[in-house]
């Protein structure tokens, strides 16, 4: 009997020690989203950087992180968070300090009915639309926005140059992420603005593959996606401004904005549209990690 008891006690003790060890060497918790946790101001020396669940956004976040570390800040990474509803409150209350964002999409998040479409207008409107506590630093020339693409062959066959030309084509199936269906620039926007009727298929990560295979005719692809070049896709022009310009822009907690502006703004300035695509190529084709890509990019641009 006592053997069983002492063994049991031994087991509990062992488990407890193992648990503590595990907790100790565990990396930082991803954001819990609790407003009760980590509220208030962060220490000025630790900057918490978040990123979306998007590999390209993670690269940019990693670049910002390493730039700040190079400048002497302590950085905590909270990557892969998800969508805006979750991390917005955390940025406002200071659990996250910096988040790489995209001007157009962010503006639509705060102001669904905005009419701004050109980059500078969008940036200005964004600055107004942000709630107190949040601000944005300088926007980058690099863009990564939704765009409608077709295969080169399809474009040739139907003489397509702009989205408006699609009105002459029947049976067009649009593919993209599931939420595209409800977005203002989705099927409804196509109908309202260009008079183009499409049916929708949620193709998510396989969108380009489906387009190339011919299962869909029109695809929503991010403009910084390297597949546009490698698969020879044609991006249809958007004269009526269905899509807002979406430049990379750092979204920051207003309290620490001044502190990190001197580090972050030069970084944003050096990021070009072609440069961003090149970074994405390194991630998808060369399969390099965000860390390595960021390190090399900062070195190449003299920012480390």
């Amino acid at each position: 009997m006592s053997t069983a008891r002492s063994r049991l006690a031994l087991a509990f003790a062992g488990t407890a020690i193992a648990a503590l060890a595990l907790a100790g060497c565990a990396s930082n918790d991803p954001l819990s989203g609790d407003s009760t946790g980590d509220a208030g101001t962060t220490e000025s020396s630790t900057i918490v950087i978040g990123s979306q669940q998007y590999y390209s956004n993670e690269i940019i976040a990693e670049i910002y992180a390493q730039a700040l570390e190079g400048a002497g800040f302590t950085v905590e990474r909270n990557f892969n968070i998800g969508q805006r509803d979750l991390y917005m409150p955390s940025i406002e209350d200071g659990s996250i300090d910096l988040f790489p964002e995209y001007t157009g999409n962010l503006l639509q998040f705060f102001d669904k009915d905005t009419t701004a479409t050109q980059p500078d207008d969008v940036y200005a409107a964004l600055k107004d639309a942000l709630p107190d506590g949040l601000t944005v630093l300088d926007q980058s020339p690099a863009t990564d926005q939704d765009s409608y693409n077709v295969t080169a062959a399809f474009a040739k066959e139907h003489s397509l140059k702009s989205i408006a030309d699609l009105a002459n084509v029947d049976g067009v199936v649009l593919g993209g992420a599931p939420e595209l269906e409800t977005r203002p620039y989705g099927p409804t926007g196509l109908k309202d603005l260009y008079g183009v009727t499409v049916s929708f298929s949620a193709t998510a990560d396989t969108t380009v593959d489906e387009l190339v295979a011919g299962n869909i005719q029109l695809a929503d692809v991010y403009s910084a996606d390297p597949l546009i070049k490698t698969k020879d896709l044609v991006t249809l022009e958007d004269p009526k401004g269905l899509f807002l310009a979406s430049n990379v822009v750092p979204l920051v907690n207003a309290d620490i904005a001044d502190e990190i502006a001197d580090v972050i703004n030069p970084v944003s300035a050096k990021l070009t549209p072609e440069g961003l695509i090149a970074l994405n190529v390194e991630s998808t084709e060369d399969q390099r990690s965000s860390e390595d890509i960021a390190k090399d990019w900062l070195a190449d641009n003299g920012l480390d």
Binding site: A4, L22, A26, S27, L31, Y55, T284, Q287
Partner: protein
């Protein structure tokens, strides 16, 4: 293959997070399941209800469970806490039945002997019933641990950082090696934990090695 070698530290840190989340869920599930299982065993009128309820909990698909928890308990949907609570619920569902069955499987003669010798209820539970129910409970614990470790990957869909990240990230970047590495990592960890639990069982319950094997059971049954 080269992707795996280049990203070993990423896989490692994700694995550590993964284990931590799973361990908390399994331990919590175990701790909660023991008293509930005991209730189901002790009060036979409750047994049916309790087992039905936990059975129903187990029926709830994982991806849906997260949002039900948010709606009912207000846990933020996209948080690690939500994942761990959901995993713990499934752990309780599996373990409760194991605990109840394990306690039921204890030989009535042994239990009567303990009573005759003069053990009080508390002492009897911890020194007789529980240890003897050990093998069955351990079997349930092994199943729970394996299920939890593989189920935790669904957390990637709610943005929780663990080995499931390798699936969503690999899917986005179209890197097969990354997704494959994730699958292998999860299976390897689950199998390792399973071995660890078996070893733990051998250490804690040396007498259990002498329990009947299936073959012996058939012979016993034939002579019953």
């Amino acid at each position: 293959m080269s992707w795996v070698l280049d990203n070993l530290d990423l896989i490692w840190s994700l694995a550590v997070d993964h284990l931590r989340q799973s361990a908390i869920a399994v331990v919590a599930g175990f701790v909660i399941a023991v008293p509930i299982g005991w209730l189901a065993f002790r009060y036979t009128t409750l047994r049916g209800t309790v087992l039905t309820i936990v059975g129903l909990l187990y029926t709830i698909p994982s991806f849906a469970m997260f949002f039900l928890l948010t709606a009912v308990f207000g846990i933020p949907a996209l948080s690690e806490t939500n994942l761990i609570v959901a995993l713990a619920v499934y752990a309780v569902a599996i373990m409760t039945r194991s605990v109840a069955d394990g306690l039921t499987s204890v030989d009535e003669v042994t239990r009567s002997a303990a009573v005759a010798v003069g053990f009080g209820a508390w002492r009897r539970f911890w020194t007789v019933d529980f240890p003897l129910a050990g093998p069955v409970i351990l079997a349930g614990l092994r199943v729970t641990a394996m299920s939890t470790i593989s189920l935790a990957t669904v957390g990637a869909l709610i943005g929780v950082q663990n080995l499931g990240y390798l699936f969503t990230n690999g899917s986005q970047r179209r890197i097969v090696a990354e997704v494959f590495a994730g699958v292998v990592a999860v299976v390897v960890i689950a199998v390792l934990i399973d071995f660890a639990l078996v070893l733990l069982g051998r250490v804690l319950m040396p007498w259990s090695r002498r329990t009947v094997t299936p073959r012996m059971n058939r012979m016993q049954a034939a002579h019953a």
